[in-house]
Symmetry: C2
Subunit: 215 residues, 2 copies
Amino acid sequence: MRRLSFEERRSELLDAAVRVIGRDGLAAATTRAIVAEADMPLGAFHYVFASRDDLLVAVIDHVTEQERLAAWIDAGADENTDPADADAPTPGVAEILTRGLDGYLRLLVSAPERELALLDVAAHAMRHDPAAVERQWQTYRIAARASLEYAADLARITWTLPLDDLAWSLASCLDGLTLSWLTARDADAARTHIRFLAAAFAAHAIPRKETPDAD
Amino acid sequence: MRRLSFEERRSELLDAAVRVIGRDGLAAATTRAIVAEADMPLGAFHYVFASRDDLLVAVIDHVTEQERLAAWIDAGADENTDPADADAPTPGVAEILTRGLDGYLRLLVSAPERELALLDVAAHAMRHDPAAVERQWQTYRIAARASLEYAADLARITWTLPLDDLAWSLASCLDGLTLSWLTARDADAARTHIRFLAAAFAAHAIPRKETPDAD
DNA sequence: TACGGAATTGGTCAATCGTCCAACTGTGAC
DNA sequence: GTCACAGTTGGACGATTGACCAATTCCGTA
C-alpha cells in the first residue's frame, strides 16, 4: 500500500491522465484507464477528485504550469547565445524569431501527444469550463509577450506596434502552426511558414536608439 | 413510417451528428442522441452506418463539402465589388485581405458551434483516421490558394513568394485565428490580428506588370 | 501503548453505451 | 393479386461507465 499525500496523489493522477489522453484520446481516458496508468486502485480516483469532469478541468491548469512557450524561449535562447556568433553582435530579429519558432517546432515534433492531449482537453473545456480555457490562452499570450521582449533586447530593436497586440498575433500564429503541423505532419512546409512568420513580425521592428549601456 | 433512400437517411444522420457535436460535444454524440436529433428510431443508425466510428470519420468528408473557406471568399468578394468604390479602381491587397478575413471572422462569430464541432471531430480523427484529416486540411490549403489568386487579380498584383507556400501560411493563420477566437472570444483583438495578417501577406506582393487588357 | 482520524482498497450499483436482431411494413415487378 | 425484397422498427443483449461505500490499514498524538 503506497501512502501518498493528497497533493502527490492528485499530481500523479493528473500526469497519468495527460499520458492517457495524449496516447489514446479523451474518450479513452476513463477513470479506470487513468488509475491503471497511475498504478492505483480504482477507489483512489474519487478520493482525490469529486468527479471525472473535475479532473478534466484540473488537467488544463496542470499543464499550464509546465509551460510550452517557456520551453520555446529557452530553445531560442540556447541557439542565440552561440559563442560562434560573436562576430555578429546583433543578429536580425527575424533570425532570432526563426530560431525560436524552430525550437518550438522541434518540441512539437518530438512530443506531439502533448499538444494533441491539450487540444482534446481544451475542446472539452470550451463547453464545460470556458473560463479555464481563457485562463490557459491568457498565459500563452503573456509568454508570447515575454518572448517578443526578449527577442527585441537581443536584436536591439523596438517594436512599432503595441506589444500586447503583437503578442496576441504571435500566440495565434503559434496555435495555427501547431494545428497545421498536427494535421499535415509536414515539417518542411512548417519551416517555410516559420520564415514567413518571422519576416511578418520583423517588419514591425525598428533599430533601437543607442543607449549609454550599449557596447 | 418515413421511407427514405439510403443516401437521404445517411445525409440526415450526418447533419444531425454535426448539430449534436456542435451543441454538446463529441462525447455527447451517442448513437441515441444522433437518431433523436434526426428524429429517427435507433435501429436506423446501424442500417446506414456499420459503427459509430464509421459515422464520425464520415462527418469530416461531409463538412468538407460545405467548405468554410468558400464562404470566406464570397464574403470578401461581396464587399470588394462595392460599386461605391468605382473611384478606387485598384484597392490595396491588404485591404482586400482584411475584408475577406473579416468576413470569415463574422462567419465564425455567427456560428462557432460549427468550428467547435470540426475541432472535436478532427481531434478524434487524428487518432482513428489521420488520412481523412490530412485530406480535410488539404482542401483548406487549396481554397486558401484560390483566395490568394483571387485577391491578386482584384488588386492587380503578383505574389513574390511561391503561391503554395503562401497558401500554406494563410491556411495555418486561419487555423490560429479560429482557435484564438474560440478560446478568447475577443472580436476586437481578432480584428487587430487580422490587420496584422493582411499586412504580412501584402508585404509579399508587387504591382503587376501592365497587360494589354488593362483598363 | 492505545486511540482517533486520515488514507486506502476492492467490490458493487444503476445507468448508459454500441451493437445486433427478429418481426413488421410498404413497394415495385410479374 | 402476390411474391420477393428493401426498408423500417422497438426491444434486448453484454459490456463498460462514473460513482459510491463499508471495511481495512496506517500514522501521528496523547
